[in-house]
């Protein structure tokens, strides 16, 4: 074997070894990143991550020292090695030292926490304000500088949740209408709620603010890079607490302006469409088809696909009093909800056509045979 070959094989071995080590280090780092609080995409979220690291490291060092002493003592001061115990049991100096040192450590943590907090609570001078209203179990976004507003619902299908279809990458973290925000703007979030307390949370912004009925809370963020960011309701809010995700799409300023323009056009189109819907007299089959879709999207989560309901909390529609009773009461309940229950007011959330068709659907499905038919114009006039 000549020398050159030998060297080559050593270098290649070294190379392979290094690659392997690098790979290991990389996957370890990757793995560690999976275990860690994410850095997020704002200055504040990154500062919070570093505050998290500081406190974690301080706790770990204290842990290693204290537990290390404990384990050493368990080893060295066990009876077989140390049959006669010492008899000291007091020392004021030691007590004073281990009271004062923790105080100093705590001060070193309190300083960065305080400065960050003061900045977090400074909600002044926003460039854009979004009013976020939580309700069971969806979010409503209003851009206060314009008349754009929309609801944001979970988009993951019931089949995926019931394990009948494979789960997507963004399982439970996808919505029908995302909140769109511009880059490089201070965006202020005002949160409130229509029913119980919810909490609006995007981990990548390090923004978590409870939405409390009757009160308005504030938070803000500023994002530099475009992207899609996902979060969830963080405050326990009842049956579908797991199913009210939040998705925010941050767009470059020009794209955001274009999006605003598109939304304005869409609103105009929709109001034109609503006029057309009202003018038309709809047939039973058409209303039933639209109604079924609306029912599946909005009603089935509580009243079930077959209208069987869930106990007394979510009454059965099959054979139920309201869908088989007077039409006016049915329209009233769907449009304005029922006080003190989870039955919401749907008038602000659905179009005349949608409400008309879902009522038609409920009165003529699940064995209900009223043969009643509601036209959008009736709903329009009830508003």
């Amino acid at each position: 074997m000549d020398n050159g070959k030998h060297v080559t094989s050593i270098t290649s071995m070294l190379q392979r070894g290094l690659t392997f080590l690098l790979f290991m280090a990389f996957s370890a780092a990757n793995f560690a990143a999976d275990l860690d609080l994410r850095p997020g995409v704002t200055d504040m979220s990154q500062r919070i991550q570093s505050l998290h690291h500081t406190s974690l490291i301080i706790c770990s060092v204290i842990g290693v020292v204290v537990f290390g002493l404990m384990f050493y003592s368990m080893y060295a001061h066990r009876r077989t090695k140390n049959p006669t115990p010492a008899d000291f049991h007091e020392s004021t100096i030691v007590e004073v030292i281990w009271t004062l040192i923790p105080v100093l450590i705590l001060v070193s943590l309190a300083v960065p926490a305080t400065t960050a907090l003061i900045e977090i609570e400074d909600n002044s001078d926003p460039d854009l304000t979004v009013l976020i209203t939580g309700s069971q179990w969806k979010w409503h976004y209003q851009y206060l500088e314009s008349d754009i507003n929309f609801y944001s619902n979970l988009a993951t299908s019931q089949e995926q949740r019931d394990n009948l279809e494979p789960k997507g990458v963004n399982y439970l973290l996808e919505v029908d209408n995302v909140l769109v925000l511009p880059t490089n703007k201070k965006v202020r979030f005002l949160t409130t709620s229509d029913d119980v307390i919810h909490s609006w949370w995007i981990p990548d912004f390090a923004v978590k603010q409870d939405a409390v009925p009757g009160f308005i809370n504030e938070a803000w963020t500023r994002v530099d890079e475009p992207g899609v960011f996902r979060g969830q309701c963080a405050e326990f809010c009842g049956k579908d607490h797991a199913f009210m995700p939040i998705v925010v799409e941050v767009q470059a300023e020009a794209d955001f302006d274009q999006w605003l323009e598109d939304q304005r056009l869409a609103i105009e189109l929709a109001s034109g469409q609503a006029v057309a819907d009202r003018a038309k007299t709809w047939a039973m089959a058409e209303l039933m088809e639209i109604g079924e879709q609306v029912y599946v999207d909005h009603c089935a989560t509580c009243h079930e696909l077959d209208g069987a309901g869930q106990g007394s909390t979510y009454p059965a529609l099959a054979g139920g009093e309201i869908p088989n009773g007077p039409m006016e009461a049915h329209i009233e309940q769907v449009m304005n909800g029922k006080a003190d229950t989870e039955m919401q007011a749907w008038a602000p959330q659905l179009s005349d056509l949608e409400i008309a068709s879902v009522i038609t659907y409920e009165r003529n499905s699940f064995g209900n045979e009223t043969a009643d038919l509601v036209q959008p114009i009736t709903i329009y006039e009830s508003r």
């Binding site: 994410r38 500062r47 010492a86 949740r161 797991a242």
Partner: protein, 535 residues
Amino acid sequence: MAEIAGHTIPNRSPLMAFLERWFLTTNHKEIGSLYLWLSFVLFFIGGAMAMLIRVELFQPGLQYLEPLFYNQMVTMHGLIMVFGVVMPGFVGLANWQIPMMIGAPDMALPRLNNFSFWILPFAFTLLTSSLFMEGGAPNFGWTFYAPLSTTYGPPSTDFFILGVHLMGVSSILGAINIIVTIFNMRTEGMTLMKMPLFVWTWLITAFLLVMVMPVLAGAVTMMLTDRHFGTSFFEAAGGGDPLLFQHVFWFFGHPEVYILILPGFGIASQIIPTFARKKLFGYTSMVYATASIAILSFVVWGHHMFAAGLPLAAELFFMYCTMLIAVPTGVKVFNWVATMWRGSMTFETPMLFALGFVILFTIGGFSGLMLALVPADFQYHDTFFVVAHFHYVLYPGAIFGIMSAVYYWLPKWCGNMYDERLGKIHFWTAIIAVNMTFFPMHFIGLAGMPRRIVDYSIQFADFNMVSSIGAALLGLTQVLFLYIVIKAIRGGEKATPQVWEGAEGLEWTLPSPAPLHTFEAPPQFPAPQEAYKHE
């Protein structure tokens, strides 16, 4: 005619005798056993609920539990573990041990003692019966935030309210009894600063109970009137404030979490010196540290509400006060380590559990300190990181504390040694399982999984699976614990009066098992060395 302790009672059928003995008993040892058995039974009920939760969270998707039922399990698991397992467990230990440790013949108010126990089975029957009611059991979390629990609560909420009232009455009466006993019935020479640490921590805990249980009663009463009598304490539409509920609840709730841990500190402070064969280091500072923790617990409730919309000044105040608690807690841990230092240690099961308690409770303390930092709390709040934190202080904290106490004093109670080999197996499986269950929850939380959700995004799947497997092991290992306890009660190696060669304190001068009536004449304190040696 039979003669028991000087009283002549007519002969009864065995059933009547049994019922009379246990329903009408005013004996602190029998009532102590009743409390401990109730706690044990509810431990398995609450534990079974935890198993259901972990089974559902084993994989993403909805597998076994409907969301509404899942929420009921989350709620009942919390309520039962807090009010039905840890609190009665500690009260049972207090009943058995405090009179024996201070040289008293019984509790100061024995009939009250009977009453405060027998309220509890009714309270928990009321609470658990709601599972079978129309609309299901309470489903709003053990913290029952308004308006989810008021306007939107199921009909069974009223049973929950009544149940909480009963538990509160029981706790207040029990606490008054403990305070009166400790202040009035100590044997001559046992000044306050010579009391065993377990007695001290219970005295402080009893004061916390007397002070905060009425606040909880107030909170549930306001709920009741909001639900049925037209008030609007927590209803914004009527001029009320949902956050008022959280302030009232956590003004009770934060001292409550120390109620759940302080007696555990006392237990560790009894056990570690015994098995290190060395006096407790820094007795005086231990007492002051416990008292400081208790006092601070009244000014930190806001740290549960950082994301609820508190003003900056309040956030800073609650953050600093919360961080301050780390100081006396640290002093306690350092004192335990110093007690071990240059001792002559052996590692019987009570010692193993006590050491597991100190180490894992400290880990829970670390995450508690991290949670105190408001900016970071915005990321941790209401995630599994919090679930990891409070299970670390409650399971290897409070529950391990109770278990180490049971192993430690069981030979005194039943006269037989437990099976040491099985005890060690129990400890090692429990400590592996407890970490396997709760440690991954830190990671899931940091990754962004909210707590109290029935279904989760696929990125959280791996660690949830690990956690569920750990939970199954943890549940199984407690069946072993039950077996060990029953086995020891039924027989085994006879225990000596002192039981542990390093044990000191009045209870170890009594024969094992301790007779029904002890210290009818006040004993000498401190007990002379020969008092431990008699047969």
